[in-house]
């Protein structure tokens, strides 16, 4: 098809004045007319989709088969479907959210009524897709389009194992089949890597720099400072935009803060249901909210031409990632802002990501070896056999799958017959690269020259030069002050941002038997729609609990860390805050009438002391009810649920509550009936505890210790998986206790499964 005709198509889609942007026609011609292969490197908004839509149409009109578009994003697909319709292209997609449509799609494919089929990279490996949909495609596949093609490269910042499968498929295609690869972010190293993997590919590159974007870097180590900055400056930024955070937790927290300050903001992250994510995107697109506070889950493909700003709450791990995110702003507006706030926690978070991104050769080898012992295994079974976190096992399996060492059918993994050896070199290479990228971003944040030029050079954009708009070019590097009161309010917000401990109700299947042997009453089997579950009976479960903060975090987290590892004692302010939380914020019902704590052989004083003082602050008696029967390994070294439970089995038992030492119960010496100090007497409750205990002794106890049938607060310093508290509560309940409320000072910073 000639250019004129293609332009006519373009105008049908975009209006009578529309013309091709520079490079668009060349790309279309290469793919559709010359049946060649191209890698298109152009910034977001240039119009890559126009290229492959029109190329697909041209091919279809000339009798070729449908175009297969491989793209990683759900949201992208929705927008694209609408855009394709305008061109008269019959586009369909199959993904996990539109299963109801699959049958219709299958039929339309068979009837040759589909011009464009859009799927995710994961879908290509899906048995159903291969056995049901593919055979329905009667004629050839007219063209392959690979979106976000930088994922093909090891060197790219967004390594996705499923893309290696795409490369293998492309290698199996005869040269006559056209292939278009598109990406908005690829430096020379990535481009060369892609070139080496896909034969005969032409590189079509455009300018990456966004002229309307004004860049700023602001270093504010404390989270409270950055929260205050956001509250103060966000209303001053034009239009609507995105605030990026590195973690889901921060996304929630920042959104919560901004909402509290009266700003229309909502969180956006991978833990939201698909429907919620769609809603959130639409709200931003319609300018009904000021900002989405998002993690990278708001990804490539989300396109809002009039996005007024992109603010980063924390520093991303690479220039490529940063540019991809900040480059969303300023597309179709004259002026937009890109602000990078960086803080104290950035390095730690990046290090965590790097450490956990690539399962070590050791993990992969062990997983491969374990799979050789049976025909197939589920992740569950693997987590019982190997002491690694669930997500680590998942990642290892994914990489093994892509490297051909493992194959998967539903949730069962099997070792294939291929020889496989861990590629230690590659893993190390990529890890080194990532560290280098983090260092580059550290330099960017301190850069005193043109910021846009720094980014452009890093991306090997040949047209890199001073932008004249960033804070360094305009000399606006001076920081504007934030009202001190605002910072204090942010500090208070963080301190009040306490968290919930959900009661566990299910045993990991792989250890259910062991648990049942030890505590036959603690195991209930239960069918849920065909799937057997092993649950903790309701009467033995803990109630919903609370945690004061996240370990090491801004707010109280620092104080907890210091208390645990430096001074060996938690400061008074911490105890006060904990008591405040229990008494005034949480207010569990019925209110606990005594306090006990999780025993520890390693730091017996620390938690015991904390428990006692908290009890005193709450005016409740304290008594040890649990004791350790044997040394086990540090619970935090247990990496998944199965290991965690096993480590605790038989590790605790309930003991007689000690009455003798007054110090134990009330935190003061002296007879239980008289209490010193100004604290209002909660004698009623203390007395009833005493009475119940006395009563029990009089009536003679059974073989096992009996606990008072009163609600109790069970405390620990740090909660991670929650299994210690779960089993502690189970034991207390088993021995007659009333409802058990778990409480911990801190939650471990990065949680396992």
């Amino acid at each position: 098809m000639h250019r004129e005709k293609a332009t006519a198509l373009l105008q049908r889609m975009l209006g009578p004045k529309a013309e091709f942007r520079e490079g668009q026609w060349e790309a279309i011609d290469l793919a559709a007319n010359q049946k060649g292969r191209a890698l298109i490197v152009q910034r977001t908004g240039w119009g890559k989709s126009i290229v492959y839509f029109i190329a697909a149409k041209i091919l279809r009109d000339s009798g070729a088969g449908l175009t297969l578009l491989i793209s990683p994003l759900l949201s992208l697909m929705r927008n694209q479907l609408l855009a394709a319709e305008k061109l008269g292209i019959r586009a369909v997609t199959i993904h996990s959210q539109n299963v109801d449509d699959w049958q219709e799609v299958e039929q339309r494919i068979k009837a040759n009524e589909v011009d464009l089929l859009m799927v995710s990279p994961e879908r290509l490996a899906n048995e159903d897709f291969i056995k049901k949909f593919l055979p329905g495609i009667q004629s050839n596949i007219g063209m392959f389009v690979v979106d976000e093609a930088h994922c093909i490269s090891d060197w790219g910042h967004d390594f996705r194992p499923d893309y290696r499968r795409i490369v293998r498929i492309l290698k199996l295609l005869p040269p006559a089949v056209p292939v278009l690869c598109t990406t908005a972010t690829a430096n020379d190293r990535v481009v060369r890597d892609i070139e080496s993997q896909i034969a005969n590919v032409r590189i079509l590159r455009g300018q990456l720099v966004r002229a309307s974007l004004k860049l700023f870097n602001i270093v504010l180590p404390g989270q409270a400072d950055r929260l205050a900055w956001l509250a103060h400056f966000l209303p001053k930024l034009p239009g609507n935009g995105i605030v990026y955070t590195l973690t889901v937790q921060d996304s929630r927290r920042v959104a919560g803060w901004l909402s509290q300050r009266g700003l229309a903001a909502r969180p956006y992250h991978a833990d939201l249901a698909a429907q919620e994510r769609i809603e959130a995107e639409e709200q931003l697109l319609d300018n009904r909210i000021k900002a989405l506070v998002a993690t990278v889950a708001l990804g490539m493909g989300f396109d809002k031409p009039d996005l007024g700003f992109v603010v980063h709450f924390q520093r991303p791990g690479s220039v490529v990632a940063y540019y991809q995110q900040v480059g969303r702003a300023g597309r179709a507006v004259d002026s937009a802002f890109g602000v990078l706030l960086s803080g104290r926690e950035d390095d730690e978070i990046q290090n965590y990501f790097i450490r956990t991104a690539f399962p070590s050769a050791q993990v992969m080898t062990e997983v491969a070896r374990e799979l050789q012992t049976a025909e197939s295994r589920t992740i569950e079974q693997l987590s019982a056999a190997l002491n690694y976190p669930w997500t680590t096992l998942e990642r290892a399996l994914k990489l093994l799958e892509v490297e051909g060492a493992v194959s998967r059918e539903q949730n069962k993994y099997s070792r294939t017959a291929s020889r496989w050896v861990a590629d230690v070199e590659r893993a190390e290479r990529v890890t080194q690269l990532r560290r280098g990228e983090v260092e580059e971003m550290q330099r960017y944040v301190e850069h005193d020259g043109c910021l846009m030029e720094f980014l452009a050079r890093s991306l090997d954009d040949p047209s890199a030069g001073p932008c004249g708009k960033c804070m360094n070019c305009t000399g606006k590097a001076e920081r504007q002050p934030i009202p001190a009161g605002l910072i204090q309010e942010a500090v208070n917000f963080l301190r009040n941002d306490h968290l919930v401990i959900d009661a566990r109700h299910q045993w990991p299947k792989s250890v259910a038997e062991q648990v049942g042997e030890r505590w036959p009453n603690a195991v209930d089997r239960f069918e849920d729609g065909g799937r057997a579950k092993v649950i903790i009976p309701t009467r033995l479960r803990a109630e919903e609990g609370r945690v004061l903060c996240v370990y090491g975090d801004a707010g109280w987290g620092d104080s907890v860390a210091r208390g645990k590892y430096e001074s060996g004692r938690f400061e008074d302010a911490l105890i006060e805050a904990a008591a405040e939380l229990v008494r005034n914020k949480w207010k569990p019902e019925p209110m606990p009438q005594w306090v006990t704590c999780v025993p520890s052989k390693r730091h017996p004083e620390l938690v015991h002391d904390f428990g006692q003082r908290l009890a005193a602050a709450l005016g409740l008696p304290f008594a040890m009810a649990l004791r350790k029967t044997r040394d086990n390994q540090a619970q935090k070294e247990m990496q998944n649920s199965a290991a965690q439970v096993r480590n605790l089995l038989g590790g605790f038992e309930v003991m007689e509550i000690s009455l003798g030492d007054g110090a134990n119960e009330f935190g003061t010496h002296g007879s239980p009936q008289s209490r010193d100090g100004a604290r209002p007497s909660k004698g009623g409750k203390g007395t009833s505890l005493m009475q119940m205990l006395k009563h029990k002794i009089k009536t003679g106890l059974g073989s096992k210790p009996q606990l008072p049938e009163l609600p109790v607060l069970l405390v620990d310093d740090v909660v991670d998986s929650g299994w210690t508290l779960t089993i502690g509560a189970l034991l207390l309940r088993e021995h007659g206790s009333g409802p058990v409320y778990p409480f911990a000072l801190a939650r471990a910073a990065f949680r396992g499964s």
């Binding site: 050839n140 005869p174 040269p175």
Partner: protein, 336 residues
């Protein structure tokens, strides 16, 4: 594993034309062996360098170049058109540890090509060490139901092959096949299995995987990787077993019925390789009948502890090659 290691561009085209794997539901059927043989000749006689030049030409050009009728050319073009889909389904197969070889690929087993010539299967799916396919091998075949003496013999043959540096080839079926193959593998030897079905399922078994990953067991099938069992399939793969081997040993056979009988008779007729048949007091009828058809006798002595198995086989070969040809000629005279 890079697909370029085993599959050439020519091979890809042959695969698209000849394999039943991943065919379109209402599309044309794959080329049969004889249809491919014909097309191969036509390609050789044309100005095209090889099958790799066919994809993308279109039916009209293909008809012209090869001098074939439009209808046939359309079928060829349609089969080649499925390249994209085929690529995706192939990738799935490869990612599970399997590979594919076609008759035009350099890795295709030499002995097989040499022995069966135009009857050699166009496409072989497989898994494991490909170089084994070109090592000197002995086929060991027999029925699934086998008595003590037969079983002991099968295992012994396997063991003796290892001692002589020969690879055992068999069908992977229960009974004789597995006994012979296990006989070799358990003595640190090597084996080839020619499967009639279920290649994909077979390589998932841990014990099979162990030998395959070790490089001592290679599995092939002339059918698709997920083909199901059929009697025809079981029979059809027998010729591949003989075709891969320098010698064949039949442990026990029925008369005029069963895969072992049919395979042995075909092998004798085609003179694919010297066929030895177990003799002795308790052997089944079929064994005796095969001797009359020209098979050579082999007994417990040849697989005894001190026997030099490989040497003995070779001696028989030179001596009897003339014999075998003569007896075949004699039979023809008898029956006109």
């Amino acid at each position: 594993m890079d697909v370029r290691d085993f599959l050439s561009d020519d091979g890809q085209a042959v695969l698209a034309l000849c394999s039943n794997f991943a065919l379109a539901e209402d599309g044309p059927s794959a080329l049969t062996l004889s249809e491919w043989n014909e097309l191969e000749t036509q390609i050789e006689n044309s100005s095209l360098a090889g099958p790799a030049e066919l994809p993308g030409l279109g039916a009209e050009k293909i008809a012209k170049e090869l001098g074939i009728p439009e209808g046939e050319a359309e079928r060829v073009a349609a089969l080649l058109d499925r390249a994209g889909r085929l690529a995706m389904q192939l990738e799935e197969v490869f990612s599970k540890g399997m590979w594919v070889l076609t008759r035009v690929d350099s890795g295709y087993p030499v002995q097989l090509q040499h022995t069966l010539k135009h009857q050699a299967p166009t496409v072989l799916f497989g898994s494991g060490e490909r170089s084994l396919l070109n090592q000197a091998a002995v086929a060991v075949v027999g029925s699934r139901h086998i008595d003590e003496a037969g079983a002991a013999f099968a295992r012994a043959v396997g063991k003796k092959c290892v001692e002589s540096g020969l690879v055992v080839v068999s069908g992977g079926a229960r009974g004789t096949d597995r006994l012979a193959m296990d006989g070799a593998l358990s003595e640190e030897g090597k084996a080839m299995g020619v499967l009639a079905d279920s290649l994909e399922a077979t390589i998932r078994k841990p014990d099979v995987q162990e030998f395959v990953a070790d490089g001592r067991l290679v599995l092939v099938t002339p059918y698709g990787p997920t083909a199901g069992f059929s009697v025809g399939g079981a029979m059809g793969r027998n010729k591949v077993i003989y075709g891969l081997s320098e010698f064949a040993v039949v442990v026990s056979s029925d008369v005029n019925t069963g895969g072992t009988w049919a395979g042995a008779v075909e092998a004798l007729k085609g003179q694919w390789c010297p066929v030895f048949v177990r003799e002795g007091s308790g052997v089944p009828e079929g064994n005796r009948a095969l001797l009359k058809k020209g098979a050579l006798p082999i007994g417990d002595e040849q697989v005894g502890e001190d026997a030099n198995f490989g040497e003995w086989l070779r001696k028989q070969q030179t001596g009897t090659q003339a014999k075998t040809k003569k007896s075949a000629a004699q039979q023809q005279d008898l029956f006109g």
